[in-house]
Amino acid sequence: MIAAQARHVGWVLRSNPITAVAAVAATLLCFIALIGPSIVSYDPIASDVASALQPPSAAHWAGTDQLGRDVLARIVYAARLDLAIAASAVFLSFIVGALIGSVCGYAGGRIDRFVGRLVDVLMAFPLFVLAMAMVVALGNRVENIVIATAIINLPFYIRFARAEVNVRRDAGWVEAARAGGEGHLAIVLRFLLPNVLPAMAVQISLNLGWAILNAAGLSFIGLGVKAPTPEWGIMVAEGARFISTGKWWLVAFPGLALMLTVLCFNLLGDGLRDILDPRMRT
């Protein structure tokens, strides 16, 4: 079974080299986020004014910022924080959204209509502005950024799960499960959800990139993580002040990290669906 699974993953990666590149990049990224901070030799917070604003060099590969902190070290530390925020936000909205969506898709009727309108209302707001408002109202803390990002992601998961469950609810195997003595709730949780997860995995990967952008965006306008903490959005915001004087590395490197991360998750999406879908296996 495991060997077959490995063969299948190998086949997907071989037949789709872009997925393979994205998978390698994503693995590398997670690796950096996990153990990067213990490898880099500079403190990301302690300032060293003597060596402020140095361009990239052998000692500081990505240069130093206005307080003399090593930019590369800050990028590496920030990777952990940004990925953690994005991953927990997406995880949260995925779990909650999949549950609400599949119950609506299965039950239909009044619950479905009510939740559907609620989602419509939520989506009528510009989502980033909504996230800003939530962070302002709840307080400028990491967990609130996670919650705000999760809530603005929620409508996509609810709609997606609803649509996927809705087309399957009259399938023979669902009726067979009922004839086999399964109640409605158990059917949603144990039969329908596992079947819609592969399709939703694509959504997770796409949303991870989006959630990272969202978190960085909040920090960029001063509503996210607070200043001395290394975070890509803050780094870009702070660096932007120096760009007119030619200190490009303050913006370019964190911006590049952000861009590559988002790109990598977007590219991973389709490959993930192929890997997770049992019907794609031989």
């Binding site: 079974m1 399938a171 195997w173 067979a176 004839a179 399964e182 409605h184 079947n195 031989t282």
Partner: protein, 549 residues
């Protein structure tokens, strides 16, 4: 000019190869066939025989992974294999046209049928919109659509399946092609609709001296409407003969199997599989013991009603099934047979009436709660499409084990033993139990579905078109299997089907439904031999029968 008796279409040594994930697959391996002007050639075979691929190769409409690797297709003096795409486009519709299995899918849902017929006309002829409309009305009239002036502005969803297929036929004949390729044109249509559609095709093509290539899995249909039949198996043509000879004296072993497996008015379940190594041994029928007077029948349905809004899908149906009895439920689509079977299975709630199982009223238990009832295990169901009835994420073992876990409370070794026992009963090799549905063939999936239904030892099995999605040879074995299980386990069957030949063979009693009401019921043989109502008579007459020599 070709000689008058030269074939219109001659396929010589055709090979088609598909590039798939597991390498090259040869779907058609050296097919030879020819169609003379004005003749109808049937291509029969089971799924995977290459019959549809052959047709698509002739029209050069293979999908991008398929390639004609060898052979010639002579049509009107040219070789279509070598023809450039532009030539083929000019031929499509004008010289060769096709009608497909699902007429709704072949029509554009956002354009009126009149415009679509006009499109077909104006693709090959220069004519004004008004001329095209006038001709479209004539064409609708020719395919026997009543009030064509009104229907021409209808959208496909406003027409029934049979009407849609007639519109597709109108489009196909619009430019007077010489060859019509009909790929399973009536699969999914009711038997009476099938008859009108096929009669129409036969009349129109005879009037215009068109040649027809009829691709079908239904031997009866091919026998009735074709002058010649080729039988295909695994990409080869194994036999070619006129229908009468093909059925009375099949030469090839595969043809013999196919002919035996196709039920006719006189078939018996025992005879469906001539090959002794494949046949399922049937135990002798049990002598019927009259139930003691006063005991309730196994199932008693009284005045069952199901309404959806204003319309009644089921309108006052009463029936009984005795223990061990098999009762057929037949009728056309929309007659309410599926709704009745789901109400009896307690998967949906009736609007009115009662369902008594073993004398106990179960109609009033909400379908939502019925899974907790001790009677849940007594009534089980086998679904129409074996693929669609298996959870894609469950292995065969899990699918069979599920009701045992939930209703039988089995686990561990006892569960494993019982699942294996069920698999043996339905003839499913034990090493397939680890496989997922997409790794099983249609027949194997059907066995898993049956094993799941009998695993908890029900006394009533509802069979909802259990073989409609299966090839005839697999249907034959599946029907034998069901019959054996019924005899061994003394199961009662409610057998829902649109295939009257199957019902006549499998059921002691038959109930005929129309628009949610029972129009006739009685002993199967008597009912089919001498129908009492016009509706039943029409149904019986519409079955494409082949001559039994």
């Amino acid at each position: 000019m070709t000689a008058p008796d030269a074939p219109l279409l001659a396929v010589e040594d055709l090979h088609v190869t598909f590039t798939t994930r597991r390498g090259l697959v040869e779907a058609v391996r050296g097919v030879n066939l020819s169609v003379a002007p004005g003749r109808t050639l049937g291509i029969v075979g089971e799924s995977g025989s290459g019959k549809t691929v052959t047709a698509y190769a002739i029209t050069r409409l293979l999908d991008s992974s398929g390639r004609i690797t060898k052979g010639r297709i002579q049509f009107q003096g040219m070789d279509l294999v070598q023809a450039p795409t532009r030539t083929m486009r000019a031929l499509h519709g004008a010289a060769i046209s096709m009608i497909f299995q699902n007429p709704r899918a072949a029509l554009n849902p956002v354009r009126t049928v009149g415009l679509q017929i006009a499109d077909a006309l104006r693709a090959h002829r220069t004519m004004t919109a008004a001329q095209a409309r006038k001709r479209a009305i004539e064409l609708l009239d020719e395919v026997r659509i009543r009030e064509p002036e009104k229907r021409i502005d209808a959208y496909p969803h406003e027409l029934s399946g049979g009407m849609c297929q007639r519109v597709v036929i109108a489009m196909a004949i619009a430019c007077e092609p010489a060859l019509l390729i009909a790929d399973e044109p009536t699969t999914g249509l009711d038997v009476t609709t099938q008859k009108t559609v096929m009669d129409l095709v036969a009349r129109i093509t005879a009037e215009r001296n068109m040649s027809v290539l009829l691709i079908t899995h239904d031997l009866g249909l091919a026998a009735k409407y074709c002058q010649d039949i080729v039988v295909m198996e695994q990409g080869h043509v194994v036999e070619r003969a006129p229908p009468l000879r093909l059925f009375s004296d099949p030469q090839h072993a595969y043809t013999r199997r196919l002919v035996a497996a196709s039920p006719t008015a006189t078939s018996r379940v025992e005879d469906l599989v001539p090959d002794a190594s494949l046949a399922v041994p049937l135990p002798p029928l049990r002598p019927k013991t009259k139930p003691a007077p006063g005991t309730a029948p196994l199932l008693e349905v009284q005045n069952l009603v199901k309404r959806y809004g204003e319309t009644a899908a089921v309108d006052g149906v009463s029936l009984t099934i005795a223990a061990g009895e098999s009762v057929g439920l037949v009728g056309e689509s929309g007659s309410g047979k599926s709704t009745i079977s789901r109400m009896i299975c307690r998967l949906i709630d009736p609007t009115g009436g009662d369902i008594l199982f073993d004398g106990e009223a179960i109609g009033s238990i909400a379908a939502r709660e019925f899974h907790r009832s001790p009677l849940r295990r007594e009534i089980q169901i086998v679904f129409q499409d074996p693929h669609e009835s298996l959870n894609p994420r469950f292995s065969a073992f899990d699918s069979i084990a599920h009701p045992l876990r939930r209703l039988g409370g089995l686990a561990g070794d006892a569960l494993k033993a019982r699942v294996e026992d069920c698999a043996k009963k339905v003839g499913l090799p034990l090493d397939l139990l680890d496989r997922f549905p997409h790794q099983l063939s249609g027949g194997q999936k059907a066995r898993v579905g049956i094993a799941r239904a009998i695993s908890v030892g029900p006394r009533l099995l509802v069979l909802d078109e259990p073989t409609a999605a299966l090839d005839v040879s697999i249907q034959a074995v599946t029907l034998q299997l069901l019959e054996r299980l019924r005899r061994e386990e003394n199961l009662a069957f409610l057998f829902v089907s649109h295939d009257l030949n199957v019902v006549r063979m499998m059921c002691e009693r038959t109930i005929v439904l129309q628009n949610g009401r029972i129009v006739e019921e009685g002993q199967s043989r008597a009912l089919f031999d001498a129908p009492a109502t016009d509706y039943t008579r029409e149904l019986v007459a519409a079955i494409p029968m082949r001559e039994v020599a």
